[in-house]
């Protein structure tokens, strides 16, 4: 267990951690805004991966160039999901918490079936691109370029989200988060804010999806592989806190990578879960949670 092995695993953990963080950021944004845990979040990412794959297959362009298109598509999809489903789920008078969980769960199954129906079950991969299959080596440590590009884009996305939170729309988001009912008094159209919030959340997970598609396979069930990591990241970081999602994502990426080094890799997720439970039991709201 020499030093460079640990360093290499740590780097791998860092790169994956940033992706977990961005996936979680979308989830945290939506939860923070309206107390809704989107159990179809992994499936939204899967749709973004398929969108990137299809556009790449049709156009032959580098997936990084396709990023803006997919982000816009996902933004629209996010708003559509809100208006079509979530708005109704929120207006329910009974068992709202439960209805919201199982509506998003039903959506997840539906999207998985639709993906299977449209694309079939094959495992597809984007095999070309400026960074595809290339690795930089610095002092014995290997930096796979697709992951590095993905991490940089995720960081940029985080910066974007933080910037947005500074803008007027961002303040409206924050205000709505603070007190959903009061904002109506000062002329903020709550529904529009929720729809934009969902659009933003879907766009964030869409970015993570496109970047993931550059080095990870695409299949109808790939969303499930990342779902539980995203929920743990959000709950650990604290629902509604973007900074929390970033820190928690990195922490979980590291813990997962280093546990796989020490324990039987099949148990690597257990390391991550135990840390989550330890933190949450003493700080129920997570590391930076305010809700």
């Amino acid at each position: 267990m020499t030093l460079d092995i640990i360093l290499q695993a740590a780097i791998g953990g860092l790169l994956m951690g940033l992706i977990y963080a961005l996936v979680a950021a979308g989830l945290s944004l939506i939860f923070g805004l309206m107390d809704v845990v989107n159990f179809a979040h992994g499936e939204l990412m899967m749709l973004a991966m398929y969108a990137a794959f299809v556009l790449w297959q049709v156009s032959g362009l580098d997936p990084l160039l396709l990023l803006p298109i997919v982000v816009v598509v996902m933004f629209g999809l996010g708003m559509g999901v809100y208006r079509g489903l979530i708005a109704r789920a929120l207006s329910v008078r009974f068992n709202r918490g439960m209805v919201q969980i199982f509506v998003t769960f039903g959506l997840a199954i539906f999207i998985r079936g639709a993906a299977q129906f449209t694309f079939g079950g094959e495992f597809r991969s984007i095999t070309t691109g400026v960074v595809a299959n290339r690795t930089a080596e610095i002092a014995g440590v290997f930096l796979p370029l697709p992951q590095v590009a993905a991490s940089l884009v995720c960081l940029a996305a985080f910066a974007g989200l933080l910037l947005i939170s500074r803008t007027e729309f961002g303040h409206a988001l924050e205000a709505t988060r603070e007190d959903r009912d009061a904002v109506a008094l000062i002329g903020i159209d709550r529904d529009r804010i929720f729809a934009l919030g969902w659009g933003l959340g879907a766009a964030a997970v869409g970015i993570a999806g496109v970047m993931l598609a550059t080095f990870y396979y695409v299949s109808p069930n790939v969303g499930a592989n990342f779902a539980i990591t995203a929920y743990v990241t959000v709950a650990l970081g604290g629902f509604g806190s973007l900074g929390g999602a970033l820190v928690a994502g990195l922490l979980i990426g590291e813990v997962e990578a280093l546990t796989a080094l020490v324990l039987e890799p099949s148990l690597k997720q257990v390391g991550m879960f135990v840390i989550y439970l330890a933190v949450v039991l003493f700080r129920p709201r997570g590391l930076f949670g305010t809700l």
Binding site: R88, N95, G97, V103, V270, V274, V280
Partner: protein, 329 residues
């Protein structure tokens, strides 16, 4: 006026007996094994949904990790039978006890959390349990455990091809969960738990002890879920972590209760009667195409029912307690 509750409970008891009788007679005219199997699975999941309902419905704790207790029950009963020769008729109760104990162990830390934090914590605990069982060689790990067939016997809960014995076994199980829910609804616990669910601050101010209420509900819910796991193991004849402890099961167990009507006596049964046949039939008759159509139908059904009937399908049958019709004031 005074005994409106007693009158309602008497009609529920009569209704319960009628349904029990109907379900007891139901399989007799049906010769087709597939349909009998469908009914058995439906009743089993109706019982499991009612078991979950005791914690999730009456006490308001949305646990998304019940597959853990289901798995405990399945493994305890099967290992006692396969390795120690203890017949599942008793193994089932041991399985239930371990399920209840598991629910207490999980509840102890997790009940300090509330709302979505609690739900996510139960998902995580469920995953940990599944991963540990997957890597635990003593219990067979990923290879799973075969339940050897030793001949038709009620004690060993094994029958070669006969379906009726299994039908009455799961019917007994579902009836037990229904009776438990019925007794809870009318008891001091039932009122306390429902108060905890609706508003624990108000409940606390009336002397209701919050944490013990949740733990009691969890123990009973875990016990019946564990028992359901033991029955499932005897019925299927093979168990492995993926089939008795996976996350998908933790969603399937509460689903009928949520769609049928949470915190009601008939919700879980009605939800199971609609949901399970649809998912089984859509898979059997549409799954073969491999186009995922059955998943689309299943997903769409969940969304439509959850949105159209937030209080559950049970609210279609007259003004059920738990809130008037959605359109009322």
């Amino acid at each position: 006026m005074r005994n409106s509750i007693l009158r309602r409970r008497r009609t529920e008891l009569v209704g319960g007996a009628a349904v029990l009788l109907a379900l007891a007679v139901l399989p007799l005219p049906i010769g087709d094994v597939y349909t009998q199997n469908l009914i058995i699975i439906t009743i089993l999941f109706a019982g499991l949904a009612q078991a979950w309902n005791i914690l999730g419905g009456y006490c308001g704790q949305i646990s998304l990790g019940h597959a853990l207790y289901f798995g405990f029950g399945a493994y305890v009963s099967t290992l006692l039978f396969v390795r120690l020769g203890i017949p599942p008729a008793f193994g089932m109760l041991a399985g239930g006890a371990v399920g209840g104990l598991g629910a207490l162990l999980v509840g102890w830390p997790c009940f300090r959390l509330s709302g979505h934090y609690y739900a996510i914590a139960t998902v995580v605990v469920g995953e940990i349990g599944w991963l540990l069982f997957l890597n635990w060689d003593f219990i067979g790990g990923a290879t799973g455990v075969y339940v050897p067939f030793k001949g038709d016997s009620w004690v060993a809960l094994q029958f070669r091809t006969a379906k009726l014995p299994y039908h009455y076994l799961v019917l007994g199980f579902a009836a037990a969960t229904w009776i438990a829910a019925f007794l809870i609804e009318g008891s001091r616990w039932g009122f306390a738990w429902r108060a905890v669910k609706d508003d624990f601050v108000a409940a606390r101010s009336l002397g209701v002890r919050i944490f013990p209420s949740k733990m009691a509900a969890a123990a009973i819910s875990g016990f019946f879920t564990g028992m359901g796991g033991a029955i499932y193991a005897q019925y299927v004849g093979y168990i492995d972590p993926d089939s008795v402890m996976a996350g998908a099961l933790s969603i399937l167990i509460p689903l009928p209760a949520v769609l049928g009507g949470v915190g009601t006596l008939w919700g879980p049964l009605l939800g199971a009667a609609v949901l399970i046949p649809v998912s089984e039939l859509s898979r059997s008759y549409l799954g073969g195409s491999g186009r995922g159509v059955d998943l689309m139908i299943y997903g769409a059904l969940i969304m439509v029912v959850a949105l159209a009937r937030p209080q559950g399908l049970v609210s279609l049958f007259g003004r059920r307690r738990g809130g008037p019709d959605a359109r009322a004031a």
